[in-house]
Protein backbone atom coordinates (compact mmCIF):
# COMPACT_ATOMS: atom_id res chain seq x y z
CA UNK A 1 0.00 0.00 0.00
CA UNK A 2 1.15 3.54 -0.65
CA UNK A 3 -0.20 7.08 -0.64
CA UNK A 4 0.91 9.11 -3.62
CA UNK A 5 1.24 12.88 -3.68
CA UNK A 6 -0.93 14.88 -6.05
CA UNK A 7 1.87 16.44 -8.09
CA UNK A 8 4.40 13.93 -9.27
CA UNK A 9 3.00 10.52 -8.28
CA UNK A 10 5.60 10.48 -5.55
CA UNK A 11 5.01 7.86 -2.83
CA UNK A 12 4.83 10.00 0.33
CA UNK A 13 3.74 7.19 2.66
CA UNK A 14 4.29 3.56 1.91
CA UNK A 15 4.02 0.23 3.67
CA UNK A 16 6.88 -1.40 1.75
CA UNK A 17 10.58 -0.79 2.09
CA UNK A 18 11.02 -1.11 -1.68
CA UNK A 19 8.78 1.86 -2.41
CA UNK A 20 10.61 3.95 0.19
CA UNK A 21 13.96 3.08 -1.38
CA UNK A 22 12.45 3.80 -4.74
CA UNK A 23 11.55 7.34 -3.66
CA UNK A 24 15.09 8.30 -2.80
CA UNK A 25 16.77 6.48 -5.64
CA UNK A 26 14.38 8.08 -8.10
CA UNK A 27 15.22 11.50 -6.67
CA UNK A 28 18.93 10.89 -6.86
CA UNK A 29 19.12 9.11 -10.20
CA UNK A 30 16.71 11.50 -11.82
CA UNK A 31 14.29 8.83 -12.83
CA UNK A 32 11.52 11.06 -11.60
CA UNK A 33 11.17 14.24 -13.62
CA UNK A 34 12.05 17.26 -11.53
CA UNK A 35 12.50 15.17 -8.42
CA UNK A 36 15.80 16.66 -7.40
CA UNK A 37 14.53 20.20 -7.73
CA UNK A 38 11.42 19.16 -5.84
CA UNK A 39 13.60 17.96 -2.99
CA UNK A 40 15.78 21.03 -3.09
CA UNK A 41 13.05 23.61 -3.20
CA UNK A 42 11.24 22.16 -0.19
CA UNK A 43 14.30 21.62 1.98
CA UNK A 44 16.06 24.98 1.95
CA UNK A 45 18.31 25.05 4.99
CA UNK A 46 18.92 28.68 5.82
CA UNK A 47 22.01 30.30 7.26
CA UNK A 48 20.68 33.46 8.95
CA UNK A 49 23.39 36.11 8.68
CA UNK A 50 21.61 38.53 10.99
CA UNK A 51 23.22 41.91 11.59
CA UNK A 52 20.46 44.39 12.35
CA UNK A 53 16.84 45.13 13.19
CA UNK A 54 15.51 43.00 10.30
CA UNK A 55 16.51 40.11 12.58
CA UNK A 56 13.30 40.67 14.54
CA UNK A 57 11.37 40.16 11.33
CA UNK A 58 13.35 37.03 10.54
CA UNK A 59 12.47 35.67 13.99
CA UNK A 60 8.83 36.44 13.34
CA UNK A 61 8.79 34.74 9.95
CA UNK A 62 10.64 31.68 11.17
CA UNK A 63 8.61 31.21 14.37
CA UNK A 64 5.16 29.86 15.00
CA UNK A 65 2.85 32.62 13.72
CA UNK A 66 4.17 32.86 10.17
CA UNK A 67 6.20 29.65 10.28
CA UNK A 68 8.51 29.52 7.30
CA UNK A 69 8.74 25.77 7.86
CA UNK A 70 5.30 25.38 6.27
CA UNK A 71 6.84 26.42 2.98
CA UNK A 72 9.74 24.02 3.15
CA UNK A 73 12.43 26.06 4.84
CA UNK A 74 12.42 24.17 8.08
CA UNK A 75 15.77 24.45 9.82
CA UNK A 76 18.20 27.28 10.32
CA UNK A 77 21.75 25.94 10.19
CA UNK A 78 24.47 27.85 11.97
CA UNK A 79 27.23 26.30 9.93
CA UNK A 80 27.47 27.56 6.34
CA UNK A 81 28.63 24.09 5.30
CA UNK A 82 25.18 22.70 6.08
CA UNK A 83 23.15 25.50 4.50
CA UNK A 84 21.75 26.06 0.99
CA UNK A 85 20.19 29.48 1.51
CA UNK A 86 22.17 32.42 2.86
CA UNK A 87 19.75 34.94 4.29
CA UNK A 88 21.54 38.25 4.76
CA UNK A 89 19.28 39.95 7.25
CA UNK A 90 20.26 43.56 7.92
CA UNK A 91 22.92 46.14 7.18
CA UNK A 92 26.36 44.96 6.12
CA UNK A 93 29.25 47.33 6.78
CA UNK A 94 32.70 47.32 5.22
CA UNK A 95 34.20 45.95 8.43
CA UNK A 96 31.85 42.97 8.23
CA UNK A 97 32.10 42.42 4.46
CA UNK A 98 35.05 39.96 4.59
CA UNK A 99 33.08 37.82 7.05
CA UNK A 100 30.04 37.70 4.76
CA UNK A 101 32.20 36.83 1.77
CA UNK A 102 33.87 34.00 3.69
CA UNK A 103 30.55 32.61 4.91
CA UNK A 104 29.29 32.59 1.32
CA UNK A 105 32.44 30.86 0.09
CA UNK A 106 32.14 28.19 2.79
CA UNK A 107 28.67 27.15 1.62
CA UNK A 108 28.56 24.17 -0.72
CA UNK A 109 26.95 24.30 -4.17
CA UNK A 110 24.19 24.64 -5.07
CA UNK A 111 23.54 27.71 -2.95
CA UNK A 112 21.22 30.69 -3.00
CA UNK A 113 21.33 34.11 -1.41
CA UNK A 114 18.42 36.22 -0.18
CA UNK A 115 18.97 39.93 0.51
CA UNK A 116 16.52 40.40 3.38
CA UNK A 117 15.54 44.04 3.86
CA UNK A 118 16.46 47.17 1.97
CA UNK A 119 19.87 47.58 3.64
CA UNK A 120 21.08 44.23 2.39
CA UNK A 121 19.46 44.88 -1.00
CA UNK A 122 20.78 48.37 -1.76
CA UNK A 123 22.12 49.94 1.40
CA UNK A 124 18.76 51.56 2.04
CA UNK A 125 19.04 55.02 3.49
CA UNK A 126 22.69 54.50 4.38
CA UNK A 127 25.13 56.14 2.03
CA UNK A 128 28.32 56.78 3.92
CA UNK A 129 31.84 55.65 4.75
CA UNK A 130 30.72 52.59 6.69
CA UNK A 131 27.94 50.82 4.80
CA UNK A 132 28.14 48.41 1.86
CA UNK A 133 25.41 49.67 -0.46
CA UNK A 134 23.90 46.31 -1.25
CA UNK A 135 25.47 42.90 -0.68
CA UNK A 136 25.37 42.24 -4.43
CA UNK A 137 28.53 44.34 -4.56
CA UNK A 138 30.29 41.44 -2.82
CA UNK A 139 28.38 38.21 -3.49
CA UNK A 140 25.73 37.17 -6.04
CA UNK A 141 22.13 37.64 -4.89
CA UNK A 142 19.22 35.47 -6.06
CA UNK A 143 16.34 37.32 -4.51
CA UNK A 144 15.87 40.80 -3.10
CA UNK A 145 13.30 41.58 -0.43
CA UNK A 146 13.35 45.35 0.03
CA UNK A 147 11.38 46.75 2.92
CA UNK A 148 12.33 48.40 6.16
CA UNK A 149 11.76 45.85 7.47
CA UNK A 150 9.93 43.60 5.01
CA UNK A 151 6.68 42.19 6.35
CA UNK A 152 6.58 38.44 7.03
CA UNK A 153 4.15 37.95 4.15
CA UNK A 154 6.63 39.63 1.82
CA UNK A 155 9.35 37.25 2.97
CA UNK A 156 7.10 34.25 2.44
CA UNK A 157 6.30 35.50 -1.08
CA UNK A 158 10.00 35.88 -1.68
CA UNK A 159 10.63 32.37 -0.44
CA UNK A 160 8.05 30.97 -2.86
CA UNK A 161 9.54 33.00 -5.71
CA UNK A 162 12.95 31.66 -4.81
CA UNK A 163 11.55 28.12 -4.82
CA UNK A 164 10.41 28.73 -8.40
CA UNK A 165 13.93 29.78 -9.22
CA UNK A 166 15.37 26.72 -7.48
CA UNK A 167 13.12 24.41 -9.42
CA UNK A 168 14.40 25.89 -12.68
CA UNK A 169 18.04 25.35 -11.78
CA UNK A 170 20.06 24.22 -14.75
CA UNK A 171 23.46 22.60 -14.86
CA UNK A 172 26.22 24.35 -16.81
CA UNK A 173 25.63 21.98 -19.77
CA UNK A 174 22.08 23.34 -20.04
CA UNK A 175 20.35 20.26 -18.71
CA UNK A 176 17.83 20.71 -15.96
CA UNK A 177 18.70 19.05 -12.70
CA UNK A 178 17.02 15.72 -12.17
CA UNK A 179 16.10 15.12 -15.80
Amino acid sequence: MKIVDDVGSLPVITTTREDAIGLFSSLVKGGLKGGLQWARRYSLFQYPFVTACCGMEYMSVSCARYDMARFGAEVPRFSPRQADLLMVVGTVVHKNAPVLKRVYEQMTEPKWVMAFGVCASTGGFYQNYATVEGIDRIIPVDIYVPGCPPSPEQVLDALMLLQEKVSRLKFPDGKEAGT
Binding site: H94, T122, Q127, N128, Y129, R137
Partner: protein, 180 residues
Protein backbone atom coordinates in the same frame (compact mmCIF):
# COMPACT_ATOMS: atom_id res chain seq x y z
CA UNK B 1 22.18 73.31 42.29
CA UNK B 2 23.02 76.75 41.07
CA UNK B 3 26.61 77.63 40.31
CA UNK B 4 28.03 75.70 43.27
CA UNK B 5 30.20 73.50 41.07
CA UNK B 6 31.23 76.30 38.72
CA UNK B 7 32.16 78.49 41.70
CA UNK B 8 34.17 75.65 43.25
CA UNK B 9 36.01 75.14 39.99
CA UNK B 10 36.90 78.82 39.59
CA UNK B 11 37.94 79.07 43.23
CA UNK B 12 40.24 76.05 42.92
CA UNK B 13 41.73 76.53 39.43
CA UNK B 14 41.32 80.23 38.56
CA UNK B 15 40.78 81.84 35.22
CA UNK B 16 43.96 80.46 33.61
CA UNK B 17 42.39 76.97 33.65
CA UNK B 18 38.66 77.70 33.65
CA UNK B 19 38.56 79.81 30.52
CA UNK B 20 34.85 80.46 30.67
CA UNK B 21 31.52 79.08 31.78
CA UNK B 22 27.86 79.40 31.19
CA UNK B 23 24.76 78.23 32.98
CA UNK B 24 21.18 78.03 31.88
CA UNK B 25 18.42 76.57 34.07
CA UNK B 26 20.80 74.25 35.85
CA UNK B 27 22.56 73.23 32.65
CA UNK B 28 26.13 74.18 33.45
CA UNK B 29 29.21 74.24 31.25
CA UNK B 30 32.83 75.00 32.01
CA UNK B 31 35.39 75.65 29.29
CA UNK B 32 38.69 74.17 30.41
CA UNK B 33 42.27 74.57 29.22
CA UNK B 34 43.00 71.27 27.41
CA UNK B 35 46.30 70.56 29.20
CA UNK B 36 44.55 70.72 32.59
CA UNK B 37 41.57 68.50 31.78
CA UNK B 38 42.81 65.49 33.76
CA UNK B 39 43.52 67.61 36.88
CA UNK B 40 40.11 69.23 36.67
CA UNK B 41 38.53 65.80 36.24
CA UNK B 42 40.32 64.41 39.29
CA UNK B 43 39.17 67.38 41.39
CA UNK B 44 35.58 67.11 40.20
CA UNK B 45 35.43 63.46 41.14
CA UNK B 46 37.15 63.68 44.53
CA UNK B 47 35.81 66.99 45.84
CA UNK B 48 33.00 66.43 48.36
CA UNK B 49 30.82 69.26 46.99
CA UNK B 50 31.12 68.06 43.38
CA UNK B 51 31.28 64.22 43.58
CA UNK B 52 31.01 63.54 39.87
CA UNK B 53 31.30 59.76 40.11
CA UNK B 54 30.12 59.06 36.57
CA UNK B 55 31.11 60.11 33.09
CA UNK B 56 28.06 59.92 30.84
CA UNK B 57 29.74 60.71 27.54
CA UNK B 58 32.79 62.07 25.81
CA UNK B 59 32.26 63.42 22.33
CA UNK B 60 33.69 65.98 19.95
CA UNK B 61 32.61 68.81 17.69
CA UNK B 62 34.44 69.75 14.50
CA UNK B 63 34.25 73.54 14.08
CA UNK B 64 35.97 73.25 10.74
CA UNK B 65 36.47 76.92 9.96
CA UNK B 66 37.54 77.94 13.45
CA UNK B 67 40.77 77.63 15.34
CA UNK B 68 41.23 75.72 17.60
CA UNK B 69 39.22 73.40 15.40
CA UNK B 70 38.10 70.53 17.65
CA UNK B 71 36.01 70.84 20.78
CA UNK B 72 36.03 67.78 23.04
CA UNK B 73 32.94 67.66 25.25
CA UNK B 74 32.63 65.72 28.52
CA UNK B 75 29.30 65.08 30.19
CA UNK B 76 29.51 64.36 33.91
CA UNK B 77 26.91 63.20 36.39
CA UNK B 78 26.93 62.94 40.14
CA UNK B 79 24.96 59.95 41.32
CA UNK B 80 25.04 61.06 44.97
CA UNK B 81 24.32 64.77 44.39
CA UNK B 82 22.14 64.26 41.31
CA UNK B 83 23.69 67.14 39.39
CA UNK B 84 25.36 67.40 36.02
CA UNK B 85 28.22 69.33 34.48
CA UNK B 86 29.56 69.70 30.97
CA UNK B 87 33.24 70.32 30.27
CA UNK B 88 34.55 71.61 26.96
CA UNK B 89 38.14 71.77 25.78
CA UNK B 90 39.32 73.08 22.41
CA UNK B 91 42.32 71.48 20.68
CA UNK B 92 44.00 72.74 17.48
CA UNK B 93 43.97 70.91 14.14
CA UNK B 94 47.76 70.78 13.98
CA UNK B 95 48.21 68.93 17.27
CA UNK B 96 44.85 67.58 18.44
CA UNK B 97 45.81 66.00 21.75
CA UNK B 98 44.86 66.29 25.39
CA UNK B 99 45.32 64.18 28.53
CA UNK B 100 43.14 61.11 29.01
CA UNK B 101 40.67 61.03 31.90
CA UNK B 102 40.57 57.22 31.87
CA UNK B 103 42.58 57.11 35.10
CA UNK B 104 39.81 59.14 36.79
CA UNK B 105 36.78 57.43 35.22
CA UNK B 106 37.32 53.98 33.72
CA UNK B 107 34.19 54.57 31.68
CA UNK B 108 36.00 57.19 29.62
CA UNK B 109 38.14 54.48 28.01
CA UNK B 110 35.83 53.56 25.11
CA UNK B 111 34.44 57.08 24.74
CA UNK B 112 37.92 58.45 24.15
CA UNK B 113 38.70 55.65 21.71
CA UNK B 114 35.57 56.57 19.78
CA UNK B 115 36.55 60.25 19.64
CA UNK B 116 39.97 59.18 18.37
CA UNK B 117 38.38 56.81 15.84
CA UNK B 118 35.97 59.39 14.42
CA UNK B 119 37.88 62.69 14.81
CA UNK B 120 41.55 61.78 15.25
CA UNK B 121 41.88 63.49 18.61
CA UNK B 122 44.69 61.79 20.54
CA UNK B 123 44.35 61.14 24.27
CA UNK B 124 47.71 61.02 26.01
CA UNK B 125 48.25 58.22 28.56
CA UNK B 126 45.25 56.30 27.28
CA UNK B 127 45.78 52.62 28.21
CA UNK B 128 44.55 51.29 24.83
CA UNK B 129 44.67 54.00 22.16
CA UNK B 130 43.27 52.03 19.20
CA UNK B 131 40.33 52.55 16.91
CA UNK B 132 37.17 51.12 18.46
CA UNK B 133 34.51 50.92 15.71
CA UNK B 134 36.40 51.05 12.43
CA UNK B 135 39.00 48.60 11.20
CA UNK B 136 42.75 49.24 11.59
CA UNK B 137 43.21 49.61 7.80
CA UNK B 138 40.91 52.65 7.70
CA UNK B 139 42.68 55.88 6.82
CA UNK B 140 41.46 59.24 8.03
CA UNK B 141 38.66 60.17 10.40
CA UNK B 142 35.14 59.92 8.97
CA UNK B 143 33.27 62.37 11.21
CA UNK B 144 35.59 65.23 10.36
CA UNK B 145 33.67 67.70 8.27
CA UNK B 146 36.22 67.50 5.45
CA UNK B 147 36.04 63.69 5.09
CA UNK B 148 34.37 62.82 1.76
CA UNK B 149 30.72 61.93 2.26
CA UNK B 150 31.10 58.64 0.38
CA UNK B 151 34.71 57.90 1.25
CA UNK B 152 34.37 54.13 1.39
CA UNK B 153 37.43 52.03 2.13
CA UNK B 154 36.40 48.46 1.27
CA UNK B 155 38.34 45.47 2.61
CA UNK B 156 37.24 43.04 -0.11
CA UNK B 157 36.97 43.28 -3.88
CA UNK B 158 33.55 44.62 -4.81
CA UNK B 159 31.47 46.06 -7.61
CA UNK B 160 30.83 49.77 -7.84
CA UNK B 161 27.03 50.15 -7.82
CA UNK B 162 27.14 53.12 -10.20
CA UNK B 163 29.43 51.75 -12.91
CA UNK B 164 29.33 48.00 -12.34
CA UNK B 165 33.13 47.95 -12.42
CA UNK B 166 35.12 45.79 -10.03
CA UNK B 167 36.89 47.82 -7.38
CA UNK B 168 39.93 46.46 -5.60
CA UNK B 169 40.31 46.83 -1.82
CA UNK B 170 41.45 50.30 -0.90
CA UNK B 171 39.81 53.62 -1.19
CA UNK B 172 36.92 54.55 -3.43
CA UNK B 173 36.55 58.26 -3.77
CA UNK B 174 32.92 58.67 -4.72
CA UNK B 175 33.26 62.14 -3.49
CA UNK B 176 30.29 64.32 -2.76
CA UNK B 177 31.83 66.40 -0.03
CA UNK B 178 35.01 68.30 0.39
CA UNK B 179 38.31 66.64 -0.43
CA UNK B 180 40.43 65.43 2.46
Amino acid sequence: MSHVVLDRLLERFGEEVILGSHSHRGDETAIVAPTEIANVARFLKDDGRCSFEMISDVTCVDWIDEEPRFEVVYHLYSISKKHRLRLKARVPEGDPRLPSVTAVWGGANWFEREVFDMYGVVFDDHPDPRRILLYPEFEGYPLRKDYPLNGEQPLVEMRDPDTGQLVMPGRISRDQGREV
